[in-house]
C-alpha cells in the first residue's frame, strides 16, 4: 500500500494565478432559471475564471512563480527541480516543464518533467517532487500545478460547461531536516478511466474529421469527441465511497486524529459532494474551506487555489496542520497530512 511518511520537506510558499475573465453561471443560457438556481446552490459554482484562447496553464503558473520567487527572495539560479502537473499542457510534444524552466531562467542543472494527473495531481506532486528532492539532496524546487479546462468543455454540455474554471499555481518546496514529516496515502482505480475522459486526440483515437462532430448524448448534453465527457454520477459515488477511508487510513498511519487537524482542504469538485464527505467525517464547517463558489472546479489547481483564496490570512501566521485530499479523473485519489509554518502566500494574481 502506498501509505508512507516523507520527512525533511517543507512548503515555503504557495501562489495562485487566474485569468482576469469572469463567467457568471447566471448568464448560462443553456439552463433554465430554476436549473441555474439549483446548480449554483447545490453544485456550488456561481462564477469561474475563463482563460482567453491561447492562454495556457503554464502562462498562469509562470505568473504565479515569478510573484512567489520574488516574495520568497529566491534566486532562479538556485532552483534545481521543476515539476509541472496538468492535463492541459502547452503542446502534445514536448513536455511543458522545460518551457517553464527556460522562461523562469532556471539553470540547466534543473530537473524538469511533467506529470499527467488532474484532481489528485497536487497531492501526488508533493509526494513525487518531495521524494526526489530528499533522495537527490535538492534544496529548492517549484511544483507547478493547474489546468485550463474551459477550452475543452462543450458549450452545450450542461454537465461540464458551468462547472470548470481555470487556474495555475506554484508551491515552493525546501529541503529542511527540521520539517515535520508529511504523510501520504495514494490510490488508483483505472477501471474507472472512462468516468472523466476526452476520447479523441491521443494515440488511441487519433483526431479525425469525425472528432469535431457534435453528438447529442442526452437532453442538455451535446459535445464532440475532443471535449471532456464527465460521468458525474459515477464520480460522485466513487468520491463518497473512497475519500473518507483514504483520509482516515492516512491519519491512522500518521498517528493523528481528526481533532488534531486545523483544516481539511478537499479538491473542489462539487459542493454537495464535499459537504457529504465533511458530514460523514463529522468535520465542522469552519475547518473545510471552499473556493469553488468564486472559481469553480479548477481541477489540479483546486487545493492550492483554495489555500490562496480561503486560508491566506491564517497560513501566513504561525503553524497550521492540514489534510489535503484530491480525488477524481483516473480514477486517482490521495491525501496528505502536513504541517506549515508562516507560509509566504501572496494574493491571487490575475493575468
Amino acid at each position: 500500500m502506498a501509505i508512507f511518511p516523507l520527512p525533511g520537506i517543507r512548503i515555503s510558499g504557495i501562489a495562485s494565478a487566474v485569468p482576469r475573465g469572469v463567467y457568471h453561471n447566471r448568464d448560462y443560457e443553456y439552463l433554465t432559471e430554476k436549473e441555474k438556481e439549483l446548480f449554483i446552490k447545490t453544485v456550488g459554482v456561481a462564477k469561474r475564471r475563463v482563460a482567453p484562447k491561447g492562454m495556457t496553464t503554464s502562462d498562469l503558473c509562470e505568473a504565479a512563480a515569478i510573484k512567489l520567487m520574488h516574495e520568497l527572495g529566491w534566486d532562479p539560479a538556485d532552483i534545481e527541480i521543476l515539476v509541472f502537473i496538468s492535463q492541459s499542457r502547452d503542446y502534445l510534444i514536448p513536455a511543458t516543464a522545460g518551457i517553464l524552466q527556460e522562461k523562469l531562467g532556471l539553470p540547466k542543472s534543473c530537473v524538469a518533467f511533467d506529470i499527467s494527473l488532474g484532481c489528485s495531481g497536487y497531492v501526488y506532486g508533493l509526494s513525487v517532487m518531495g521524494s526526489q528532492m530528499l533522495t537527490a539532496g535538492i534544496q529548492k524546487g517549484l511544483l507547478m500545478v493547474g489546468d485550463v479546462s474551459t477550452q475543452t468543455t462543450g458549450p452545450r454540455d450542461k454537465s461540464t460547461f458551468p462547472l470548470f474554471g481555470d487556474a495555475g499555481t506554484v508551491t515552493a518546496l525546501t529541503l529542511d531536516p527540521q520539517a515535520a514529516p508529511m504523510h501520504f496515502n495514494l490510490q488508483t482505480d483505472g477501471k474507472g478511466y472512462k468516468a472523466i475522459i476526452i476520447p479523441d486526440g491521443g494515440i488511441r483515437n487519433l483526431v479525425t474529421p469525425e472528432s469535431f462532430t457534435e453528438e447529442k448524448i442526452t437532453e442538455g448534453i451535446e459535445r464532440n469527441r475532443l471535449q471532456i465527457a464527465l460521468d458525474g454520477m459515477e464520480v460522485f459515488r466513487f468520491s463518497l465511497r473512497e475519500v473518507q477511508p483514504n483520509i482516515e487510513r492516512m491519519l491512522q498511519d500518521a498517528g493523528k486524529n481528526l481533532e488534531e487537524v486545523d483544516y481539511f482542504v478537499l479538491h473542489q469538485a462539487n459542493r454537495l459532494m464535499n459537504e457529504s464527505i465533511r458530514k460523514k467525517m463529522r468535520i465542522p464547517p469552519e475547518k473545510c474551506p471552499y473556493s469553488m463558489e468564486e472559481y469553480g472546479n479548477t481541477s489540479s489547481a483546486s487545493i492550492p487555489l483554495t489555500i490562496s483564496h480561503a486560508l491566506r490570512d491564517v497560513i501566513q501566521e504561525g503553524k497550521n496542520r492540514l489534510v489535503l485530499s484530491g480525488f477524481g479523473v483516473g480514477l486517482s485519489w490521495g491525501s496528505v497530512y502536513l504541517e506549515t509554518e508562516k507560509l509566504v502566500c501572496p494574493e491571487i494574481i490575475e493575468i
Binding site: T42, R237, K280
Partner: protein, 89 residues
C-alpha cells in the same frame, strides 16, 4: 435503520421546498421528484450521509413509491450491518 416515517421526515427536511407532511409511504416518487441529475445526486448523498448506504440512479428510477425506495435502502443497510456479519472465531 430508522423506520419509514423517520425516513420520510428526513427526506422532507433535506428537500427544503417540500412541505412537511407532503410524502406518505404510498406517495408516487415521480409526482414529487424529477430525477434530473442534481436531484438524484441530492438523494444519493442524503442516503449515503444519513444511512451509510450507497444507492444508484437505477434504484431511484426503479422505485415507484416511497415505500419501494425505503425497502431498497433498508435491504442494503441491513445487509451491510455488522450484526449480520458472521465473524470467524
Amino acid at each position: 435503520m430508522v423506520d419509514i416515517h423517520q425516513f420520510i421526515t428526513s427526506v422532507e427536511e433535506e428537500f427544503e421546498e417540500m412541505p412537511k407532511g407532503a410524502l406518505t409511504t404510498e406517495s408516487n416518487l415521480r409526482e414529487h421528484f424529477t430525477w434530473d441529475s442534481i436531484n438524484a445526486l441530492i438523494f444519493i448523498a442524503h442516503v449515503n450521509v444519513n444511512y451509510n448506504v450507497e444507492i444508484t440512479a437505477e434504484d431511484l428510477i426503479n422505485s415507484t413509491t416511497v415505500e419501494d425506495l425505503y425497502n431498497i435502502i433498508k435491504l442494503k443497510a441491513d445487509s451491510s450491518s455488522p450484526s449480520t456479519v458472521t465473524v470467524p472465531s
